[in-house]
Symmetry: C2
Subunit: 294 residues, 2 copies
């Protein structure tokens, strides 16, 4: 029987929790906004009133938080901090995409307390979590991999194992940079096609079978086919990830397509705001066209 | 028994011919440079001394040529032109990526002669042809689709059927634009990863399972994993395709990522020349870095 704790019940966190709920797991949950736990409690999750309470009760704790400051505060808070309440040997699996420095720092702090930090950024969105088809990039000591895998494999079907926490985050950050470029390109070519009166069905057929295809072409096609249903990545998150990429390399000097992508997403965020979806780029193209043509 | 003719024996043409050679096909071939037919003749193909000779002997003729001027000349040459030598009802399957206008013009001319023109741009490269896994975008009248499919399915396993020749080419052109953007992005993120000492195996594992994945990420990874073996798309062909994209839309005004891709590939071609592979972009990044840092 696993005693698993989960902190951070946004859409992704909830989707992963739903995959974890099963007969052989006690799932304890905590979230700053308790309302987000309602659905999970209905399905058998157990509410904890604080990270401290959760930490004291669990062998494995998963974090699905929105930024490295939040994560660091949660781990080290002088009163409620996880690290002072978890027992030795506890494993903390952090699914966040954060800077390599922050991941290394968290791992060091955790180890100092006799606990285990596992970097586990995941890719595939809420849909991938729902289907148990996320891809996970996992930095963990070999000794804990078997037990970690038995948990992660409930929501991810592809795992890349690493030992360096910094490398795990670097890989996730450059993956997300490729996503950004592919998404912008996908919306531009789809826009050109639609402008020429080509149907979405025809575009879908060609752009999922020919070599212009990509995982993010699928995201763009789904957005257009679903009457603009959001992709669950906000412009704030997209720009946060691109900012992390900017700290890995001198992008404006050496990587021109990446540089164009970073500049564009920052313009889109400026126009639509943090909370809007990354797929707003499609509307951005159309609105800029109108502005330019007037 | 099919009587099939094939004109244009570059690497792609030869790969498709090898898929066509079988017990129930007589395959007649012609190429401006006869040496390129040697391997095919060894395997049972029949040489023709001119397009005219080939045209007179075949029911179905496939073209795999390098540009729309060459295609138009081959069809309409006053002495050797295919259209004056093919018999009525002959079907001409053109695998080339050409402008929508040129495809429409070819179809009109061919129809006027009582023959059938089929636009059939293909995606997937020489490797896809070798494996019979090309994706084909096919504009053809419904009446000839069954017979056409029996031929195309020998080298392509995914077909998008259309009736408009212009739309078939537009779809291929925007697909190729997406390829271009994805390739540049792929090489940039791989370069960032390698610069940080991340191994190609780790990059491969993450970038083929996480959502930064794309068909052209695979092309970039194969290039780096194969000791820089070319991808069989020259810079001249890449830039020709991007030039066709430029004729579909006011790219510099409305599509910034596409615009950056077009400008970059034109700089790469200027630096390395027409015949070099599109994957030279990886070397371009490294050399520009050195120049910028001195």
């Amino acid at each position: 029987m696993y005693n698993i704790g989960f902190i951070g019940l946004g859409r992704m966190g909830q989707a992963i929790c739903l995959r974890l709920l099963s007969h052989d797991i006690i799932l304890r949950v905590y979230n700053r906004t308790p309302e987000k736990a309602t659905k999970l409690l209905d399905k058998g999750a157990v509410w904890c009133n604080s990270p401290a309470e959760l930490g004291a009760a669990c062998d494995i704790i998963m974090l699905c938080l929105s930024g490295e400051q939040v994560t660091e505060a949660l781990l080290t808070d002088s009163e409620n901090g996880l690290l002072r309440h978890c027992h030795p040997g506890c494993m903390i699996i952090d699914t966040g995409t954060i800077s390599p420095e922050s991941a290394t720092y968290n791992a060091h702090l955790t180890e100092t307390q006799g606990q285990e930090y596992i970097s586990c950024p995941v890719s595939g969105g809420v849909e991938g979590a729902n289907n148990g088809t996320l891809a996970a990039i996992v930095a963990a000591q070999p000794a804990v991999r078997t037990i970690i895998e038995s948990v992660i494999s409930r929501f991810a079907d592809r795992i890349t194992w690493l030992t360096s926490h910094a490398d795990a985050q670097k890989l996730k950050i450059i993956n997300n940079l490729a996503e950004s470029i592919n998404l912008l390109g996908a919306f531009e070519v789809l826009n050109i096609g639609l402008t020429h009166g080509i149907t979405l069905d025809e575009l879908h057929s060609v752009l999922t079978t020919c070599r212009g295809r990509s995982a993010y072409m699928d995201v763009a096609l789904r957005f257009l086919n679903s009457n603009l249903k959001p992709s669950d990545v906000s412009l704030a998150v997209r720009c946060k990830d691109l900012c992390l990429a900017g700290s890995l390399a001198d992008i404006s000097r050496h990587y021109p397509i990446s540089d164009a992508a970073i500049e564009l997403f920052s313009r889109v965020r400026e126009k639509y705001g943090d909370e809007q979806d990354q797929c707003e780029y499609f509307n951005f193209i159309n609105e800029e066209k109108k502005l330019n043509d007037n």
